[in-house]
């Protein structure tokens, strides 16, 4: 235990998320809160995806399916069954983790591009299934009566409440990422990433470890999904299972540093900020997508290890505090 308490990397990670996350609570600025909501959401999505992508080395294009399914379960429970958001989010998380465990057991047999393609297929299959499933609204999706927010002391409070929950979730997911990374289990994952066959020979139960990593990566996206759609007041299949968001998550991880704890945090924040800036900047407004593409290309070619990876390579001293 002591080794965790004394690890500056742990404290740095926690503090960064905490300081940034508490910022809107101090300023009471709703705009900052909305900006931070998206950032924290992406931090959670990216850092949970990093467990599979960065630590285990499996390229998952379907990470967003956890977010979407979690959103659907949670939203259904809140809007249709009248549950409070907290139990609904927990139930969503439980359901999605189960789903991930079963799915992972099946598709993690695949490697490389085959796995990546299969995850796209899973996302699309689930999305098109939901579109056809009328019990959850089919293509129309579901909407929540506005009066539901009264349970949380009115809509304004509900938004702050959702934000605080999200902050807790983000912290938890970053800590999970840290503990996985520094644990023996995490070392096993890294071994799988380097050479899965060799890892098997070394006695690492790769199939089981991969499945656990996959299931762990599903816990928090499911909760974030519930919170996001609760705040939105409605849910539609197209918004819940947007393949593009998965890819954005991967971009964030690459930007920040693949396989590091801090990387996804920095990457998600930078990416979100940048897009926000480009979107509202009169200079880049029309070309923002192309501009983001050029930037991404430059990063992949010239800084392939991401911001955090680059810092770690460039300044070995930083390694101790930048996990």
């Amino acid at each position: 235990m002591m080794r965790y308490v004394r690890d500056p990397a742990l404290w740095l990670t926690t503090l960064v998320v905490l300081v940034a996350g508490v910022w809107p609570l101090i300023t009471r600025s709703a705009t900052t809160r909305e900006d931070m909501f998206l950032i924290l959401m992406f931090v959670t999505l990216a850092s949970s995806l990093n467990i599979v992508l960065g630590y285990t080395g499996y390229v998952n294009f379907g990470h967003i399916v956890f977010f979407g399914l979690g959103g659907y379960i949670g939203f259904y429970l809140i809007a249709e069954k009248g549950w409070h958001v907290i139990p609904a989010a927990l139930a969503a998380s439980l359901g999605v983790v189960l789903f991930a465990a079963i799915l992972g057991g099946i598709i993690l047999r695949l490697r490389g591009a085959y796995f990546a393609l299969a995850t796209i297929g899973v996302n699309e299959a689930v999305r098109s299934f939901i579109v056809n499933w009328d019990a959850v609204g089919g293509a129309v999706g579901m909407e929540m009566n506005f009066s539901r927010y009264q349970d949380y002391g009115g809509p304004m409070n509900a938004l702050w409440f959702a934000y605080i929950l999200l902050l807790i979730v983000t912290l938890a997911s970053v800590l999970l990422s840290y503990f996985v990374r520094t644990s023996k289990f995490g070392l096993g994952l890294l071994a799988i990433r380097e050479d899965e066959d060799a890892a098997l020979v070394l006695g690492i139960p790769a199939p089981k470890a991969k499945t656990i990593a996959f299931a762990l990566s599903a816990i928090f996206p499911a909760i974030v999904g519930t919170l996001f759609f609760f705040k939105n007041g409605n849910i539609e299949p197209g918004d819940a299972f947007r393949l593009h968001m998965s890819v954005e998550g991967i971009v964030m991880i690459m930007l920040g540093g693949y396989g590091t704890v801090m990387g996804p945090v920095v990457g998600a924040a930078t990416y979100e900020r940048l897009r926000g800036f480009l979107l509202t900047s009169p200079l880049f407004k029309n070309l923002q997508l192309a501009f983001a593409g050029v930037l991404l290309l430059l990063i992949i070619i010239f800084v392939p290890s991401g911001v955090v990876g680059w810092l770690r390579n460039r300044f070995p001293k930083v390694r101790r505090i930048l996990a």
């Binding site: 600025s29 909407e143 509202t280």
Partner: protein, 438 residues
Amino acid sequence: MKGMRLFVTVLFILALIVTGCSKATPTPAPQPTKAEAAPAQQQAPEAKAKTLVLGFTASQTGKYAKESKEQTQGIQLWLKDLEKKGGLKLSDGTVVNFKVKYYDDESTKERVQQLYTKLITEDGADLLISPYSSGLTAAAAVIAEQYGKIMITTGAASDSIYKQGYKRVYQIYTPASRYLTGAVDALKAWDPNAKKVAVVYEKSKFATGVAKAVKAYAEKQGLEVVLFEGYEAGTTDFNPFINKIEAAKPDAIIGGGHFQDGSTFAKQLYEKKTPVKMVAILVAPAVPEFAELGDAAVGVIGPSQWESIAKYSPESAKAAGLTWCGPTIEEFVSGYKEAYGYEPGYHAAGGYAAGLVLERAIKMADSTDPDAITKALDAMDVMIFFGHIKFDTGEAHGLQIGHDMVYLQWQKKDGKVVREIVWPEAAKTADAIYPLER
């Protein structure tokens, strides 16, 4: 201790990255500024000027970019016309002007919510207009209502938004539930023998809503719905589906979705020479580019929120016992053409109408107080160039109940495809082609 200093430095830098340079400056609520009186009001020395901020998001990128652009141009034209008039004068001499603030929402919901919050809290938006499309509007409406802001929705026909208990969201468009019901009426009027209809629709929020309503309506009218099926959004190849439709032998095909699938569907129906008497589809036929289909467009009927050849006028308002306000259709069309170089479609008209309704409400309220404006909107019952505007004040608060659709049909005149209004009888500019000759 060197490690400690490093730690703090890195922490600081990272925190800076994450929080970014988000300005913590609390935006003061825009005070009624006794600003420089506009030159137009110099004759009224005691005139007070007041600028209201009008906020909305536009989809400058993404799948709704086209429709959204038209809508935005409509809003901007309204603003220009208002400025030309020297602003909106209230009885106490206050001159109200608007400042428009808008951002690109990329046609996605996350952006919509983020940007509407920014509009309200940072840019101090007093009044809001919705983005384009039902989905985005649903997301924006939540925010508007959470902050108690008035929002006029345009380009969003979905009914469900108005069943969520919102108090300050008002709809300009005829809702989805009444979008295609006129086509059923038309079919019955033109051909009492027609019995079978196929309702086929895009699996999207809007089209599904329309389709369900039209199915219920058709059944109530004694028609048999021989096929009721949705196709995946983004479908490009309708051939297999058309084969199935043909097998059900309907007299009429009613349905559709958005522009792309609708025009594809129409084109393939034509190429397949599907033997039906009537084809009525959503959205696509009302878009001018539908003419690019050439012969495939001929005979296709589409509901439209508004047409430049529609017959709303001060006279028709009088006949209906309603007040008229705002420009006439001719004024709007020529103004739009002058500003943008081409004829406006209904998305543009909807944008203009949203501004006009706000203007009218403030005028009626004779105040810029949100509660007073809300009351005025609740009581509104006017005719404008866009048609009759009246909102539900009951359970579906804010739902449009005054405005009606017109149905246009593409016809061939002198070798050119043109649009004519064929339904309702009172508004029609030409006789319908019925049955389709293929």
